[in-house]
């Protein structure tokens, strides 16, 4: 379930020269934050929208998240696992927004009935693709919120410990959640007993 993200990116550090001159340091910090934005904006957008928020709301949360990251790094705070930090802060900011608006969000923006890219060239291939997609969609929609979030975070390449940190769960609970969810997906996609 690799997403192409590496642990190196998650623990990037500033160049040594950047800590000498304050102006230079700030410029480099901005560059670093923008570079991290380029790397993690899409994964964050997928994760947040997968929970039902509209893209503009997700973009707002992401802006706030990277603004907070800039403050975090400028304050000399820990650079350990910035990927986990970004997902955790974005998750909490989004939860806070929804709490304040008292929204009851459903899975909408990310996973929809008719939006998947269909790579199959033949009519038969398209039919199989469509059928599998419908089954997956049904399984994912039926998942408890926490299981769905675990799954989406793992799909973005987060390790169990990072997911546990984002969702404030134990490692064992993350492991159990993912096994339960993938067991369901395996069963449904094979049997088609929806």
């Amino acid at each position: 379930m690799s997403s192409g993200l590496t642990d190196v990116a998650a623990t990037r550090t500033l160049a040594a020269s950047s800590v000498t001159d304050p102006g230079n340091r700030r410029d480099r910090l901005e560059e670093e934050v923008v570079a991290l934005f380029d790397e993690f904006r899409d994964p964050l957008l997928r994760y947040l929208s997968g929970s039902g928020a509209a893209f503009p709301d997700c973009e707002d949360v992401i802006q706030e998240t990277f603004f907070a990251l800039f403050q975090h790094l400028r304050g000399g705070k820990s650079r350990d696992n910035l990927r986990g930090w970004l997902f955790r802060v974005a998750h909490n900011l989004a939860a806070k927004r929804y709490h304040r608006r008292r929204r009851d969000l459903e899975l909408t923006a990310g996973w929809t009935e008719d939006s998947a890219v269909d790579p199959a060239p033949s009519p038969e291939g398209q039919a199989v693709f469509s059928q599998t997609r419908q089954r997956l969609l049904a399984v994912v929609k039926a998942l408890p919120e926490l299981d769905r979030r675990c799954l989406f975070l793992r799909a973005e390449g987060l390790r169990y410990r990072e997911i546990a940190g984002v969702l404030n769960m134990s490692l064992g609970a993350v492991s159990l959640s993912l096994a339960r969810t993938l067991g369901r997906i395996a069963r449904r996609t094979q049997q088609g007993d929806l």
Partner: protein, 268 residues
């Protein structure tokens, strides 16, 4: 790790697939898989489920994600703006500059004096119950603190309302208010003087605003902050006065500037 039957569980197989098992566990799982067709097949099924999900999950977004160019430009503009308005500000929670520390100290003292003049009824003392509704901050704990910014700098900076407060500092604020055992989601650690009015990232400017407050809640205070900022930027109120009024008693300030004794629904 093993079922009674004694095949490997999905959890064990998936943890192995994801590289989340110890070396010893991995050795045991591999040894079992070599001998067990059933578990090997189940492992493949889980791999296929992962493959199916990742393929469709990313496929769902492939053509839908909005371009990052606009948001990227917006972020750069915000960061540049921050650099202009706070050109020499070091770490927000530590290592404050000499000049800024003096500004914070002077502002805090001024607001503290104002706070002491408030009626006893609005000040809180001692330990609260975990469900306590905090509508007005304790002026001894949260006198308010502002950055050394003038009206022009405040009005050209983004109107930031909800900056992220580090979890450790949030706990410290709750602890000071005697509600350290409270459910964190029951409170928003709010800026007394909002950053949009030059409020500082300082514990003396932070307080736990209860989500349970029904009338004088965070949304009402947001409306007041918007009103005060608008007045400051239109030249109808000095920045210092706005900061002192919101820090002194924000509910009284709301009543004063909205000409009402109750929150105005439209203003929320």
């Amino acid at each position: 790790m093993k079922r009674e039957d004694p095949h490997l569980s999905d959890q064990a197989l998936l943890s192995d697939i994801d590289g989340e098992v110890s070396a010893n566990e991995e050795k045991q799982i591999r040894a079992h898989l070599k001998a067990c067709w059933k578990c090997r097949v189940r492992r493949d099924e889980l791999e296929n489920a992962i493959s199916d999900f990742v393929h469709f999950h990313h496929g769902q977004f492939e053509t839908k994600l909005p371009s990052a160019e606009g948001p990227r430009a917006l972020l750069k503009a915000h960061l540049a703006q921050l650099a202009i308005t706070q050109p020499r500000q070091p770490a927000p929670w530590a290592n404050l500059s000499h000049q800024l520390r003096w500004a914070l100290a002077i502002t805090a003292c001024c607001v503290l004096v104002l706070g002491l003049l408030l009626p006893q009824g609005v000040r809180h003392r001692g330990t609260r119950s975990l469900g306590a509704i905090v509508s007005i901050p304790d002026s001894r704990l949260t006198p308010g603190a502002a950055l050394l910014m003038d009206q022009r700098e405040v009005c050209t900076a983004p109107n930031i309302k909800n900056k992220v407060v580090p979890a450790a500092l949030q706990r410290k604020v709750l602890e000071e208010y005697g509600i350290s055992g409270a459910e964190p989601r029951a409170y928003e650690i709010d800026y007394l003087i909002t950053p949009g009015l030059g409020g500082a990232d300082d514990i003396h400017n932070l307080w736990p605003q209860s989500y349970s407050a029904t009338a004088w809640n965070a949304d009402v205070k947001d409306a007041l902050e918007d009103r005060l900022r608008e007045m400051v930027c239109n030249g109808n109120l000095t920045l210092t006065q706005a900061q002192q009024e919101i820090a002194g008693n924000w509910i009284a300030a709301y009543k004063k500037y909205f000409h009402t004794d109750r929150p105005v629904p439209e203003a929320r």
